[in-house]
Subunit: 439 residues, 2 copies
């Protein structure tokens, strides 16, 4: 028996809202295979009805009055994507009051008013999900709340403001001053015209309040966080720190100590060997230390339309499963509904596509390199790196080591077979694959 589509209302149709509409459309089939039910955005509130939207709004009733969406009896779930902590608060409370579940990406709102919102939601037996509020697309809320639920969390530390991390990375890698790096971030759209929330640590403190609460089981405590920004970091500090083996990162840290819980956001020296030190540019990462599991790290994009929509729609799928409350509403064992597993062909290794490394022992004579590279070219294999190791004693064999660009494996193997049939080639060619992660 097919369940009817879940109808969803949208508050705000800016970058993130449009990202959600596009994602639900682009991945409609996969999402339905996972959720067991169609999801339709049917009603959206925007401030300016005449503005062009970067998404297909056909089938969506548009209004300038957000209360219409919140009170629409057809709408089961409201996505709050307008930001801020005043109008958003009133709308979320009204949505809960009229029986809607809510998904929000609004860290400011949750950090400051979450205690009231969750009390209202629990009272009305509604769900308010907020995965996108912290670290964008990284499923860090789920990881701590569910994945590490058996642990006493000892501490967590995160790069949870991409703008700040971008600025510090530019200062460190390019030797830029804070002012230049900030201007660059603004030009690229990573920083707002008024960058206070990002560079003074307020945005990071919003997120830290949320992480600390779910990690330690304490009420949201934004106003108790000790917060320092990065605006006063001089280039010299970055340089001195590097001389001593550190990188400076803007971290949010929550830690139990024997007197209570430390909550702090500040520029921090981190050993350049630590995983967090290698988180560059606008990326986010959170390290969580649980007493049973030890250290775990979660890394990814902390902002942007795609990553934020990824988290918002994951929350929505979770609510769809809760709403479809019978057994079929559970998370399926293999992620997709059992009758929706597809028989995608598992390809033969000839059809693998990646780079290759091979080391071949050859006679040390003229023309060998030309012949090898010629054969590779003949089969369409391009070379990325080449090393030649000449023999120590004249008359001994040489080694040729080649890393290729990504290529269909069947072609590489054919080229290699031809190379091995040459008179100059010895036995014992070593072949390995190369991975290139195009992030």
């Amino acid at each position: 028996m097919e369940l009817e589509p879940i109808k969803v209302g949208l508050l705000g149709l800016g970058t993130v809202g449009a990202g959600c509409v596009n994602l639900l459309k682009d991945n409609a089939e996969e999402i339905e295979r996972r959720a067991g039910r169609k999801i339709q955005i049917t009603h959206a509130a925007v401030r300016d009805l005449s503005k062009e939207r970067p998404c297909d709004t056909s089938g969506i009733r548009m209004t300038a009055n957000p209360m219409e969406v919140v009170e629409d009896p057809e709408v089961k779930v409201v996505l709050e994507l307008i930001g801020g902590d005043e109008e958003a608060f009133d709308l979320v409370m009204a949505a809960i009051d009229s029986g809607k579940h809510v998904v929000t990406a609004n860290k400011h709102l949750i950090a400051l008013r979450g205690n009231e919102i969750f009390a209202a939601a629990d009272e009305k037996d509604r769900v308010v999900h907020f995965e996108a509020a912290v670290a964008g697309g990284i499923p860090i809320i789920r990881a701590i709340r569910e994945g590490l639920a058996a642990n006493t969390i000892e501490w967590l530390a995160g790069i949870i403001n991409g703008t700040g991390n971008y600025i510090l990375t530019q200062m460190s890698n390019e030797g830029e001053t804070f002012a230049d790096a900030l201007a660059e971030a603004q030009r690229l759209g990573y920083a707002e015209a008024d960058p206070t929330f990002d560079v003074e640590g307020i945005d990071a403190a919003h997120k830290l309040a949320i992480l600390a609460s779910i990690a330690f089981g304490i009420p949201l405590s934004f106003d108790k966080i000790s917060t320092d920004g990065i605006s006063k970091i001089a280039d010299e500090e970055i340089q001195f720190a590097e001389e001593m083996g550190y990188r400076i990162k803007h971290l949010g840290i929550a830690r139990r100590n024997d007197r209570g819980v430390e909550l702090r956001v500040h520029p921090t020296l981190v050993s350049d060997q630590a995983l967090l030190a290698s988180v560059e540019g606008e990326k986010n990462a959170v390290m969580v230390y649980g007493d049973a599991v030890g250290p775990t790290v979660y890394y990814g994009a902390g902002a942007g339309a795609g990553p934020t929509a990824s988290a918002v729609i994951a929350d929505l799928i979770d609510i769809v499963r809760i709403v479809s409350a019978d057994a079929s509403g559970r998370v399926p064992h293999l992620a997709f509904q059992p009758d929706q597993l597809s028989e995608s062909p598992i390809v033969d290794s000839d059809d693998f596509f990646c780079g290759h490394y091979f080391r071949i022992q050859v006679a040390d004579e003229p023309g060998v390199m030309a012949r090898i590279t010629g054969l590779l070219a003949q089969f369409g294999v391009s070379i990325e790196h080449i090393l030649q190791k000449d023999p120590e004693n004249a008359g001994d064999d040489a080694l040729v080591i080649i890393v290729t660009k990504p290529v269909r494996e069947g072609l590489l193997m054919q080229a290699l077979e031809h190379i091995q049939q040459e008179a100059f080639a010895r036995e014992g060619t070593v072949h390995l694959r190369v991975a290139q992660f195009d992030d």
Copy 2:
């Protein structure tokens, strides 16, 4: 109204089983605050009843007959921790048949027999959870299945066998041969006496089958995976690869290409700049690329009693919530049940505990360094690094830059205040904090 405790049966009480018993006991209070209900292990099956167990077994009925546990009408959830794919399969099927939910850490079982097990579980409306089967304590199943549910997963690549990664790390960092590194791993208990499953990639292929299935929505396809081990990796390869800017990692890779799905486990060259290249020793990490979210990485301990128990008990908590099927059975908004949030004190910055960096401008005169270090010692502040930057022109000021060991911040600030009151000290001291992640 308080719900009565959930009773749990245990199959196997080795390292992981005992880890689960210990974890449920050590974190009983926190776990109950999260799950909303007490959890009791009441019945356990072991092969040898006379053997001493590294956990408190009081209150647990012990039997040598696992079918007794599986058929115990009081038991609601069975934890299968005996391993292997034959007896374990029969027991899990019997448990499902008698209406139990199941948690298993057994990748071998899920990879080979999961399709049958999940069909039986769906038929009987039972849950089979298996977070611990892949990458130990890292909540990677949840991350892909729920956290990234809105994405079309393009590819994933993981270091999912800690033994192999330990061996490759030793070869790379210590210049050991494969044979020496393997012997070392066996001595440390990372590798079994028969290391075939680890070093030939079979264990990694079990895990890859599971990851690929939940990422792509395909049936478990262990027998279609192209699998190469690391036993033939020579030291020279590691060295040649490093010369060209790569590290060799044993990866499990699942990737869509235009002909289907690539499933492969093999030693792989990875750019030494990539995050996966910096995953060392017996640690695991999985990189997942979703079309909306982009690349995300999940890092942590892939094996061991604590990390595995962390994942098993998280699954158990999830099932407890499902079993307690009313609204209170949902994951609470702030991870802990609303009436269970604690008012842990948020400490003042004087009580923060971490290392500190400061840069102070001083007159270039004798005795300054002795006075600074003397004042630090007086307040119990130990020095980790010290840099002195002499002036370029005689008569100008010098700079002293100090990184301290972790200390209560109040003490550091007092020492710093005293230093600043000295006649040699100039205005404008820079103070930053240092994080040390003790993993």
